[in-house]
């Protein structure tokens, strides 16, 4: 059953004929209430088509979660718990008092009409012409057009230039220095508006994407925003393993605040900032970069692998800021189709994750980051291995092998940090005669502004 391609369907539960289209081939159904994403469910042909009663039950369960997470009278907004999931704060009195729940839901599902003129969209690309063309087309279809669209071409020979010329509203920037962080920083320098939204070249965005980002920033005083990343296609085994075994890019459909409490709760095991979202769908206020700096050039695709996004959220949270996850901002991501590519990606993720933990430790001195490398991650490997052995999913062990390779490759960053630490602390000791002198005690504000990779970005 894992051999069949899954179709990805969009089902609007608010329409009366929702049950007609659910079909009888393996599918991942993404449920909506008009423009509000509600949830998703994978089903095999035996479970399809969904009956009317089943869809009614799904609609009720999903919309109850939306009401509890979005209606202020029911306890919204929700904060992220340790797991990165919401914990409902619904009270009996509030639940009993709800009048006209479907009316409330309709109201919540109204699409945003906010102007996106103050948003700069930055897309970094590297030698992926056809995918980029799809991405740019989806951005051209936005219901609220963004103030500007910047494509940062990270290829050596400026291969994306001819394509970008075809889109009249796209500004083209060539950044030949390789690395996603470098390219994103170039995008930030080139951008002119107050809010900078990032997406990737292997993504198609929903037509309300920029409008929803504008609405979220208008409603909330946060520095960073992330959104929902849904799979665009699940044709190949690599795509399905990524979505179903590795959890894709998350499956939370309710908005969440990631704040100081989340940071403090997860700090002992390295602050779980990767639960905040994905780089394929994120946005920042310009002031955030002014305050904590740009993406770390040691991280990200082309450098350590990934996690340049989560490391930036770490800096925002560690210095008192907050991030909002708002699943109304939807993008569709094309997962890697080929198995070797998928394996490389998993390896890069783990390597980048370890590198980010080292960088975070370097910046703020939280032991939790190092503990995660030496305790939580190996424990996770052992647990996953035993589980895969007994539950008999052979594919999982192959993925695990890639993860372990990534982890081992990531350890080099720890060694390098160790050497550098030794040098600087000796140097400090000589200079100040302070026996305690080490990077660990450098205050936050200093550590943010130091280092060659975090020079001020704005001219």
């Amino acid at each position: 059953m894992n051999d069949d391609a899954f179709s990805v369907r969009q089902i609007d539960l608010a329409s009366a004929d929702a049950h007609v289209g659910s079909g009888d081939i393996p599918s991942l159904s993404i449920f909506w209430w008009k423009d509000l994403p509600l949830g998703m469910q994978a089903s095999l042909p035996d479970e399809l088509p969904y009956t009317e009663a089943r869809l009614r039950q799904l609609a009720a369960e999903f919309s109850a979660a939306q009401l509890a997470a979005r209606s202020v009278a029911l306890g919204a907004p929700l904060r992220a718990t340790y797991e990165g999931w919401p914990k409902s704060v619904l009270s009996l009195a509030a639940a009993l008092g709800v009048q006209n729940p479907l009316g409330c839901l309709d109201e919540l599902a109204t699409a945003s009409s906010a102007s996106a003129q103050h948003i700069s969209v930055v897309i970094c690309t590297r030698d992926r012409g056809p995918a980029l063309a799809q991405c740019l087309q989806s951005i051209a279809r936005q219901s609220s057009a963004p103030g500007e669209v910047i494509v940062v071409d990270n290829s050596r020979n400026a291969t994306a230039r001819p394509l970008c010329v075809r889109f009249p509203n796209v500004r083209y920037v060539h950044e030949p220095r390789p690395g996603l962080s470098v390219a994103r920083s170039a995008g930030i320098r080139a951008s002119r508006h107050d809010i900078i939204a990032f997406t990737d070249d292997d993504v198609e965005v929903h037509h309300g994407w920029t409008a929803e980002i504008a609405r979220a920033f208008a409603q909330w005083d946060v520095e960073a925003l992330t959104g929902l990343v849904l799979p665009a296609r699940l044709d190949t085994i690599a795509q399905r393993r990524f979505q179903f075994d590795m959890g894709g890019f998350g499956a939370t459909f309710v908005p969440l605040i990631f704040d100081q409490r989340f940071f403090e709760e997860t700090r002992p095991s390295g602050a779980h900032v990767w639960k905040i979202g994905a780089g394929a769908n994120m946005a920042f206020r310009r002031s955030a970069f002014e305050r904590v700096g740009s993406f770390d050039e040691r991280l990200g695709a082309g450098a350590a692998g990934c996690s340049e996004d989560s490391e930036l959220w770490y800096r925002i949270l560690a210095t008192g800021g907050a991030c909002l996850y708002e699943p109304r901002a939807v993008v569709f991501h094309h997962h890697r189709r080929d198995w070797p590519g998928f394996r490389r990606q998993i390896k890069a993720y783990m390597k980048g994750h370890v590198a980010a933990l080292v960088v975070q430790y370097d910046n703020f001195g939280d032991r939790g980051n190092i503990d995660r490398i030496w305790k939580q991650l190996p424990a996770y490997f052992v647990r996953t291995f035993i589980k895969a052995l007994f539950e008999g999913s052979p594919g999982r062990t192959r993925i695990l092998a890639a993860e372990v390779q990534g982890w081992l490759a990531g350890l080099q960053f720890l060694l390098r940090l160790g050497w550098r630490k030794q040098r600087t602390s000796n140097w400090l000791r000589k200079k100040t005669d302070d026996p305690q002198g080490s990077a660990r005690t450098v205050p936050v504000s200093k550590s943010i502004s130091k280092g060659p990779d975090r020079r001020p970005l704005l001219p």
Binding site: M1, A16, P26, A42, S43, L44, P45, D46, E47, T51, E52, A53, R54, R56, Q57, A59, A60, E61, S63, A64, L67, A68, L74, S88, L90, S91, L92, A94, A95, L96, V98, N100, P101, L102, L105, F390, E391, G392, S393
Partner: protein, 422 residues
């Protein structure tokens, strides 16, 4: 809690039981007073008469469960479910569906030498059968080789009960006898150690109207009493509870590659209903399972499995609820865990033999089951939970014994029972 100094504390704790209370949440919550010997509450929660939750609340102070404590439990455990229920009703109101006509219903109660419990169950059915939406409801009492006439007399005290005597001892002999003598096109089975909820028939009717093509239905099983240590222990470990969300089961399931081999998730044999024609076409229950000692289990797993394999879905409906009298003593409970292991493995051995297509899944299920039980044992050992450990061992040993040819032994025994009664 204050302890009387001349009584050691464990003596008092052992004597404790839980009071079971039925609370309507749409009315203001009142504190619950407990009797001397009770130290907790088993809270059955309803909203506008619909079941929305069950929680066990331990140790209220000074013999009273305050309204505040009650409210905080309701906030945490029942409020989300109420919101879902509200939305469901609202959606149904906005988009009403054509309700298919209900079938004639036969209720089959299989019993052996338990006249008192049978009367209790018949009394609870008597309250609801005349008010139900089903066009025709018959109640069959299948007397499974009782030694005296008490069962017949108990049945005769109620109006309009059909009494059937099945001389061959064994629960599945009785269930098949009921299947043959019933007249309804739907047949609902009840064990004699349950009492039905007041919405039992409505719950079944609702599940049927939403899923008229389902091959079978299972329902929620709540505790009837929580008076002894064994009953409390059993319920705290999860009991027969399968939650308060309706669930659909098909021939395959995306989130469980072993499905439908692990058919225990569907529900329990003490409360299940089927399309009678389907059961007849499947050949009824396997009489070598559920024979009473020495193999008193596995029959429900087997029939759920075969219904799903026939391609018809099964529905778990929480409002189709009964209250089950759990085992009273620790020894009986240990015996039950042994039975679970035994029945599970006998079922797997049988299915592996009869259903070649899913052989890999049966094998994987055996591996998974032993792995899971060993994991539980390790956890109990680590936390020094002696009782969990002993029950875990009982279940594990039952599983080993079941794997080692119990199904074949049972078939031989059943064959000789058949021959004796020809």
């Amino acid at each position: 809690m204050s302890f009387n100094t001349d009584v050691p504390p464990w003596v008092r704790i052992k004597a404790m039981g839980y009071k079971i209370v039925d609370v309507e949440l749409s009315r203001p919550l009142a504190p619950i007073e407990l009797a001397q010997h009770q130290d907790g509450v088993g809270l059955i929660a309803r909203w506008h008469n619909r079941l929305v939750g069950f929680e066990m609340i331990a140790r209220p102070t000074a013999g009273v469960l305050s309204a505040e404590r009650l409210r905080s439990v309701a906030d945490q455990c029942f409020a989300p479910r109420i919101l879902v229920t509200k939305l469901e009703e609202e959606l149904l109101r906005q988009r009403p569906v054509a309700e298919p006509a209900l079938p004639n219903l036969s209720i089959a109660i299989c019993t052996k030498d338990r006249a008192e419990r049978l009367s209790r169950l018949l009394a609870s059915l008597d309250d609801i059968r005349w008010k139900s939406a089903f066009p025709f409801v018959e109640i069959l009492v299948v007397d499974n080789a009782s030694v005296d006439s008490a069962t017949r007399e108990a049945a005769s005290r109620f109006k309009d009960i059909r009494y059937v005597f099945e001389p061959r001892a064994g629960l599945d002999f009785a269930r098949n006898a009921a299947l043959r003598s019933a007249t309804g096109s739907m047949i609902a089975y009840l064990d004699d150690d349950v009492v039905v909820d007041r919405n039992w028939l409505e719950g079944l009717a609702k599940a049927y109207q939403d899923h008229p093509h389902a091959g079978g239905f299972t329902g929620l099983v709540l505790p009837l009493r929580l008076d002894t240590e064994a009953q409390l222990f059993f319920e705290k470990r999860g009991g027969f509870g399968r939650g308060f969300n309706r669930n659909e089961f098909h021939n395959a399931r995306f989130d469980n590659p072993l499905h439908p081999v692990g058919s225990g998730v569907l529900g329990a044999g003490c409360n299940m209903a089927f399309d009678r024609a389907l059961l007849l076409s499947l050949g009824g229950f396997d009489e070598a399972l559920d024979t009473g000692a020495p193999l008193p289990g596995g029959g429900d797993l087997d029939i759920f499995y075969r219904v799903l394999r026939s391609g018809r879905p099964m529905i778990y409906e929480p409002e189709y609820a009964v209250y089950h009298e759990h085992r009273e003593t620790i020894d009986q409970l240990r015996r039950q865990y042994w039975t679970w292991g035994l029945g599970m493995m006998a079922f797997l051995v049988k299915s592996r033999r009869t259903d070649a297509e899913l052989r890999a899944r049966h094998r994987a299920m055996v591996c998974w089951w032993f792995f899971d039980r060993l994991k539980e044992l390790a956890r109990a050992a680590r936390k020094l939970q002696g009782r969990d450990f002993r029950f875990g061992v009982a279940e594990l040993l039952g599983g080993i014994y079941g794997l080692a040819g119990e199904y074949d032994r049972s078939r031989v025994r059943v064959q000789s029972i058949r021959e004796q009664n020809q």
